[in-house]
């Protein structure tokens, strides 16, 4: 007999159940609609409905198969146990609802044997889900990872899940004990519980059955209502968030019409409601698992920014502002909602510290680690855009860099006319686009970049790449003084106006020469030219210097014969690796040099730690906490190699400085420098000796 066939204080059980069920569902519908409104109110538009096939594949890979969760295999295991429990038991829950409303009803249209198979699966899952909860509690209390913080919310949810499993089993077991005819060999676990309970009186069993049946369903409905208010909203939002994830190149920032934004008074994000609907969905979805901060350079060095902390603070700001925000949006301004909204604790400086906003190096470790596709750097840079363009408030060191980029086309503020001075020391002529009579056979534009043009170590690497191309007979040319800063730092420091000025100028110059293929040694230039210039009419095929040279070596057009007996670590630049998925080329090139043996760092490839220079941080002072470059260099030193290979001029400066600051033993080299040294024509090389 289904519990709702009984009457409670004279009220028919089915009626009582219907009241409970629809009451809870109505409450959930209300909360969910408020969240929907909150998500869609204000904010700049974003469209995430293209490439549906790719989106669905992502949902399967990251949502259903939870690929990123298994980076922590233990957590991956318990999470998939609990997740599969939710999926399997949702059918069970539906049948319980049906049975409560219409006692004796069952799911229609099931082929023979399917229900029995499901019952078996359900019984298995009741056990595995409980095991998952136990393992999860273990992760939270017995062997907690640094990424996790003590959370009442998390414990409550886990206990609630266990409670659901136990009540389901006990209700089933008591029901079986009451009427053994119901017992099925397909429910071995429930049957076992039934056997355990079979000694009890009918009254006890009935009471237990009813209590657990009701408790189970009320707990489920409470759980549903609890989700949107707590960190476990991801149960509902994670799959949609994965479907709606960013599919553009990860290193591409949002382009917007700066003048129009200025006229509309909407530059970047200054208030919580200025975030786009997708950015708010990200906030809903964060489960505070903390994977984002495990290799976050600012978190690890004691700065106020941790991606999780930022996301949680932004969410608090959003939820706190919600009542006033929704009142204003619904036109109920007469209730003083405008005033209440205006009186909210400000987002910048209130919920989110200004130092937090400026700390980010945009290394994107957080984004590559997040199992549910949350992005962080877009939000931080949108806040910077507001601070720079609307408020004109930013670290004063940035102004020097801005002025340099604006006036001389480089953040070092060195003379624009000296841009190609690095070529002077080379024994051959470096072709300059503007001076060439015939540009038809130029295959590659060598984009030198500001560091490659002005910074001492960077200049050496430019000469190395030019030499390698020269030796291999690659037809290339540089822009010389016509090249100007690509704008990466300006954009990431929030100065979209300056970035767009530089981008337009460069695109115009390159399109003027009909440039199609570009090679550069600067991953920041590469990212901007490849991923961001298309928005400005510049579509180029851009490769990194190591990619081109590794290819030349593989094709036999370059022979690296000089022996360099060194053990070498390789430090992955964020803008080459995580942003543009180039991991192998520098390694292949290192391995092609006779004598070099590569020893991977503990944190390597997509888990490499940032040097601290990205996101325009290259130009800012690092005043809070330990120094990021030193933290990374310490790891490199501990790897015990003779040298560390880098493939980015910013990494070169940061790690080179760290080596000096810490009197380190590991020398810093650019991979291209080492490759050039292994050329037969290099002084001391084969050809030079003969």
């Amino acid at each position: 007999m289904t519990p709702t066939e009984a009457t409670y204080l004279g009220v028919p059980g089915t009626l009582l159940f219907a009241l409970v069920l629809f009451g809870f569902l109505a409450a959930f519908a209300y909360t969910a609609s408020r969240r929907w409104q909150l998500m869609t109110v204000g904010g700049f538009p974003e469209s995430r409905w293209d490439r549906v096939g790719e989106r669905i594949r992502g949902v399967v890979e990251f949502g259903l198969l939870q690929r990123k969760m298994f980076r922590d295999p233990y957590a991956g295991l318990y999470h998939i146990l609990i997740f599969s429990g939710f999926v399997v038991l949702s059918i069970r829950t539906t049948t319980l609802f049906l049975e409560g409303l219409f006692p004796g009803a069952a799911l229609p249209f099931l082929p023979g044997g399917a229900w029995e198979a499901y019952l078996l699966l359900k019984d298995v899952v009741l056990v595995t889900t409980t095991a998952g909860v136990v393992l999860a509690l273990g992760r939270r209390h017995l062997f907690r990872k640094d990424r996790l913080d003590a959370s009442f919310d998390a414990d409550l949810i886990l206990v609630l899940i266990a409670f659901l499993m136990v009540t389901d089993l006990v209700a089933g077991g008591a029901s079986h004990a009451l009427s053994p005819a119901r017992a099925s060999v397909w429910e071995p676990v429930t049957a076992a519980v039934g056997t355990l309970l079979s000694g009890s009186s009918t009254g006890t069993l009935t009471a237990l059955y009813h209590a657990c049946w009701w408790a189970h369903l009320v707990a489920i409905l409470s759980f549903l209502n609890y989700l949107p208010t707590a960190k476990h909203f991801h149960v509902i939002t994670a799959l949609p968030n994965l479907f709606l994830r960013k599919l553009d190149p990860p290193g591409k920032m949002r382009t917007f019409d700066v003048e129009k934004a200025a006229e509309d008074g909407k530059i970047g994000v200054g208030k919580i409601q200025d975030f786009s609907w997708k950015q708010k969905l990200d906030m809903f979805t964060c489960t505070e698992c903390g994977r984002c901060r495990e290799i976050c350079p600012t978190h690890l060095t004691g700065k106020p920014l941790s991606p999780k902390g930022f996301m949680v603070d932004a969410r608090k700001a959003l939820y706190t502002a919600a009542p006033a925000l929704l009142d204003v949006a619904s036109g109920r301004g007469d209730l003083g909602a405008e005033e209440r909204l205006a009186a909210q604790r400000p987002l910048i400086g209130g919920w989110v510290d200004v130092e937090t906003i400026w700390a980010c190096t945009t290394c994107r470790y957080c984004e590559s680690a997040c199992p549910v596709g949350i992005t962080y750097t877009d939000k931080l840079t949108d806040l910077r855009r507001f601070l720079v363009l609307d408020q004109s408030e930013f670290p004063k060191e940035a102004q020097t860099a801005f002025n340099g980029m604006e006036r001389q086309g480089n953040p070092w503020n060195l003379s624009a006319s000296d841009r190609d001075a690095w070529t002077a020391e080379l024994p051959f002529e470096v072709p300059v686009m503007g001076a060439l009579e015939n540009r038809d056979d130029v295959e590659y534009l060598f984009w030198v970049g500001c560091a490659g043009s002005y910074e001492d170590k960077g200049k050496k690497v430019s000469r190395a790449l030019a030499t390698l191309m020269h030796e291999a007979g690659v037809k290339y040319a540089i822009l010389g003084a016509e090249e100007t800063c690509n704008g990466d730092s300006a954009r990431r420091l929030g100065n979209e106006l300056l970035f767009q000025m530089l981008a337009q100028q460069n695109v115009e110059t390159m399109n003027g020469y009909g440039v199609r293929k570009i090679v550069t040694n600067c991953p920041h230039c590469l990212n901007t030219l490849k991923n961001e210039y298309p928005d400005f009419g510049g579509t180029f095929q851009v490769v990194h210097g190591t990619e081109l040279v590794a290819d030349l070596v593989a094709k036999g057009k370059l022979k690296l014969t000089g022996r360099i007996d060194k053990t070498v670590s390789f430090h992955d630049p964020c803008y080459l690796g995580r942003h543009n998925d180039v991991y192998d080329a520098p390694r292949e090139l290192l391995s092609a040099i006779p004598g070099v043996s590569l020893k991977e760092l503990p944190r390597t490839r997509d888990k490499a730690m940032c040097c601290g220079a990205g996101g325009g941080r290259m130009w800012l002072d690092e005043k809070i906490g330990a120094r990021i470059n030193q933290a990374r260099y310490a790891e490199i030193e501990a790897n015990g190699t003779d040298a560390v290979g880098v493939s980015c001029p910013f990494c070169m400066v940061m790690l080179g400085n760290a080596a000096t600051e810490m009197s380190g033993k590991t020398e810093t080299f650019d991979v291209l420098e080492l490759a050039a040294q292994a050329l037969p024509t290099h002084p001391g090389g084969e050809a030079a000796a003969s």
């Binding site: 200025a262 004109s392 930013f394 102004q399 006036r407 003379s415 624009a416």
Partner: protein, 262 residues
């Protein structure tokens, strides 16, 4: 309080200067022009004072049409109005000529404080503060690194060799801003957009009652006859120090015979 800030639009300090074809002016191709850095301190202080005490800030320059870009930069940072005295077709003049033009314009502007950089970084010869003040018969204080306002007067800290001098001046006066006075702001986008819509008043010398013939050509007190770049830096000469005695002798010989400093 009404402030007028005189600015000079000059080649960026990072410019590699090349001598022009005439041998007495610079080659302006590829030159990036900027508001002279010291004038930026002057503008910043005027803007800060206006924000604290109200009033207006007007920027004034003498130059060709390209200087409008510099004036707009100042408007973008927050100046209320901009005036340019057109140099187009005027012919060669000197600092005194420029000072006369600025003074003539300033006479009609009712300024409580006249600001400029302690020096331009162009061809101004660092005399503009005193010349303009003299022509207007106003007090002037140059190399100012701190300002404190009083009723109808101002206390100014100025850099002097080995220390700082504190002086008080009645208003109006001419103030020469120096490095250290403040950190010039960066124009906000709102400011840049607003500046685009503002009209720059362009005046001809004749509009100000100055006869161009009186300040140019033969009438200019200073005329440029030739411009030369400093000699290129010589390569470093290394004296082998195998024998300290001989090395010292060689050093002395070089200092006396070649460098002729002994």
């Amino acid at each position: 309080m009404n402030h007028v800030v005189c600015i000079a639009y000059v080649p960026d300090t990072e410019t590699k200067v090349k001598i022009g074809g005439d041998g007495k002016s610079i080659d302006e191709t590829d030159v990036k022009w900027i508001v002279s850095p010291y004038d930026e301190y002057a503008l910043e202080e005027a803007l800060k004072t206006r924000e604290a005490k109200g009033g207006t800030v007007t920027v004034l320059t003498f130059g060709p049409a390209r200087a409008d870009v510099g004036l707009r930069e100042c408007l973008a940072r927050g100046a209320d109005e901009a005036v340019r005295i057109a140099s187009d077709g005027l012919g060669e003049t000197d600092s005194l000529g420029v000072a006369q033009l600025l003074a003539a314009a300033l006479k009609g502007m009712k300024a409580d404080a006249i600001w400029m950089g302690s020096k331009g970084v162009g061809t101004d010869a660092g005399v503009m503060v005193s010349m303009v003040a003299e022509l207007l018969d106003l007090p002037n204080v140059n190399l100012v690194t701190k300002v404190e306002w009083k009723d109808g007067a101002v206390t100014l800290w100025r850099e002097v060799e080995g220390g700082r001098e504190v002086v008080e001046s009645p208003l109006p006066c001419v103030i020469g801003a120096h490095k250290g006075l403040n950190e010039p702001r960066y124009a906000s986008l709102k400011g840049i957009m607003a500046a685009k819509k503002k009209v720059i008043a362009v005046k001809k010398p004749a509009d100000l009652g100055v006869d161009p013939a009186g300040i140019t050509g033969e009438k200019a007190a200073v005329r440029w006859t030739k411009l030369e770049l400093p000699p290129a830096r010589q390569a470093c000469k290394l004296i082998p120090a195998d024998d300290p005695q001989k090395a010292a002798e060689e050093l002395l010989r070089l200092l006396r015979d070649e460098a002729k400093v002994l």
